[in-house]
Amino acid sequence: MEIITSAKPLFAILVSLIATILIIITGEKARNLREAWTIIASIVKFTIVASMLPDILNGRVIEYTLLAITSELVLQFKVDAIGIFFAFTASFLWIITSLYSIGYMRGLNEHAQTRYFAYFAIAMSATMGVAFSANIFTAFLFYEIITVSTFPLVAHKETPEAIKGARKYLVYLLGTSVAFQLTAIIITYNVAGNLNFLTNGVFHDNISHNLITLTFLLYIAGITKAAIMPLHSWLPAAMVAPTPVSALLHAVAVVKTGVFMIVRVVLYIFGIDILKSLDLGTVLAYIASFTIIAASVIALRQDNLKLRLAYSTVSQLSYVVLGVALLSPSGVMGSIMHIVAHAFGKITLFFTAGAIYVATHKTNISQLDGIGRQMPFTMGAFTVGALSMIGIPPFAGFLSKWYLTFGALESDQLIVLAVLAVSTILNACYFMPIVYAAFFKEPKIDKHNLHETLDKRTLKEAPAIMVIALVLTAIGTILIFFFPSLFLQLAQIVVTNTTGGY
């Protein structure tokens, strides 16, 4: 494998940190300029990430060592296929979310907008940091920065409820990462003497199996951002955050960091062979399967739209975990593809939830009857997102489910196959009623709010900038289905490197 040394990954991280400083300096005084910084930073970041793509697609790896703090704890970046896959998705969606955020924040005339944009930019920096980490220490560092920098975003509303949600968020994410993940990293260092992500894992054959099992479980428990049950309840709690935060962070950056870390740990710290020989993949697959089904069932019973989406996220994240836990080429492929498929689909759904809130101040599903006539674009995008989640062609979600199914067959996991089937039905059960109600049900006559229901036939969309954003992501969901080659190629490189390929 050819290695290129380049500071590009560092620049990709620094861009939004510089933006943070500019945002704080500009402040409330010049709001347009402040928002311009966000947009510029997001575009520049995306450009930098995209500029690394050709090299990676040609099988090269970009490396950059920032600082060797001690001989074993090194701040080092490595851009490989899976890293750029994640970074590309996240940085692209940041551009759209920035647009959307501006619409949302101004539409609702929110307070503390400077703080909002500043911490958002820090969180994006840290997400890039996780994507480009060359070792688990660097990844851990950025993982913690994400946690800390998103805390103010979750608590943004500063109501007692928001603070409570944010507290839960922090206790879960910080607590488990310090208690379990750090321990796991230290044990890894102690027994393997190496913290770098290697394609066949860092553990030697002669290490006690019990210790490896313990470390594996500590990692799984420590990476709570992946919201594997029973450590998932921070995610619904974090839904008190403003919708753009939920959209980008809790559908893309934060939770995807979690599953990305799990994929990293499974493939690059442990390696397929060790996990296969210890049967740990199956254990993880069962935990993930449980999460998929249980979270879907809970989602069915939620009336709050954002909460239903949150539980849907919990369930969908475990697809990624499940895929990689199958330890088969197609499983890994499906797992990686699901990162992007779910990102586009779920961000669309969250965007629509936010748009509905900005336009009508409605948060509950039972209030949405007939809303499709008022907000056709929004609800159209919602339908696209929902269908993608369920896994129907021609939407991105179909691709990943296709590979996941293959993966299950490859590793003879019939139970997993059944789980996939049941969860698809459950997905349909909790999404389709919303679509149906929005388009085909008559709006309920709200006696207290007559003037609103009267103009049900007129268009009442959210601000244009928000609608544009959510339509874009919906189109993206379709485009990925038709032109998946870039993502498939990247995933293919990962699969070839880690599993030996098909």
Binding site: A68, E144, Y189
Partner: protein
Amino acid sequence: MNLSEHSSILIVVVPLIASFLNVFIGLWRRSLCYPLFLLALVICGFLSIDLIQNIINNGTIRYKLGGWMPPWGIEYVVDHLNAYVILIVSFISLLVAIYSKRSLEKELEESKLPYFYSTYLLLVTGLLGITVTGDIFNLFVFLEIASLAGYALIAIGENRSVLASFNYIIMGTIGACFYLLGVGYIYIITGSLNMLDIAQLLPKLYESKVTLAAFAFLVVGVAIKIALFPLHRWLPDAYTYAPSAVSVLASATMTKVGIYVLIRISFTIFEPNFSKDIIPAGTILVWWSTIAIIFGSILALGQIDFKRTLSYILIAEVGYMVLGVNLGNKEGFIGAVLHILNDALMIACLFMVTGGIYYYLKSRNIEDFVGLNKKMPLSMASFSIVALSMIGIPPTAGFFSKWYLIIGAIKAEQWIAVIALLFSSLVNAIIFFRILEKIYFKKGNSTKDINVKEVPVSMLIPILILATSVILVGLFSGKIISSIIQFTVPGGF
């Protein structure tokens, strides 16, 4: 004359002379006291830098006082460990001196200031004297100078400080007497008072019961001085009610010097294998400090007064260092020595911020910290950085010492200690995020904080310096370890 040759003695003599002059200048012209006081500490700072450079370049310095050959005369032995602790002590005491000018305005009568500065300098003299000396009896003398100054500085505080100081005197004297008794026991079987000389004579006597008792008394004596749980009872009251500047100085330097003495006893006077193999002292201390960590953390959780919270956190942190030192492997030891520096920086900064809050708010109650970030943004930013470091989030300094400590604990297969370390990180997370939440996200409501604003510049600068150094020390921990700390690891590890 080459001054740098004598820097090991000058560093003790300079604050001593300044303290002497201060009393008399104070009678004549009070306004000159502060400049003199500051000047002495600046000189100390330069000397300590000179000393550590000297050590890094030329290795251990042995300075014979009065020209008498050891073991007949007293000698100063400065190696990497001393120089490192000296640097910490002089750096912190200089920062606290800058900080104390405005902070004391509201906590002490002006006419007492010359005596305060003198006592402060005597405390610094004592601490530096303890650190440089290579003679166990001389160490006792300086220990008492530092302690007497410490008792007084605590007694001039508010509210219950006098009673706290009295309890400290009783406990401190027991500690010092135990130490002296230990010295007597060492003396009766070896006939020597010089540390290096004793180190050569003792191994033959490891089987003796007297050696065992000497070790026990020395360690327990120091354990009282560093407030190792359950000998910590004097500390929370003393540090809570002392004037802010004194709390900062005492918390950041006195316990650290105590840890230094503990390291000297366990690994210079006695060989490392004494506490490891011959008697199970290392194991006992590991368990003991594990309990200290757990209880310190639990007790910290229940406090309302923030200075008291910090005192209990300090007790847990002392547990960290004692644990690391006694784990019996290189990683643990490096972690402990690194933590001496990190903890000094972090605790000093936190106590300073608390003092800053108290300066206008007149309260240290955590409930009153609501909405402070609007009033004092820079202090609160520093507070947040240090809070992250206390929790152990990279790249702040706290992470790296914790990293080494945990690796050391795993290598020593002390799983309970690993859990205790993680537990205390979690408790710190709860404590600090509860406060950060109040500072940043709750709306100010009380009428009390109307006059609150950012602390005066002379108080703010030390806070900012400490907060910055928490990050810098974190990023350069590898460098610190490779150029200083790795040489302090005793042989046989």
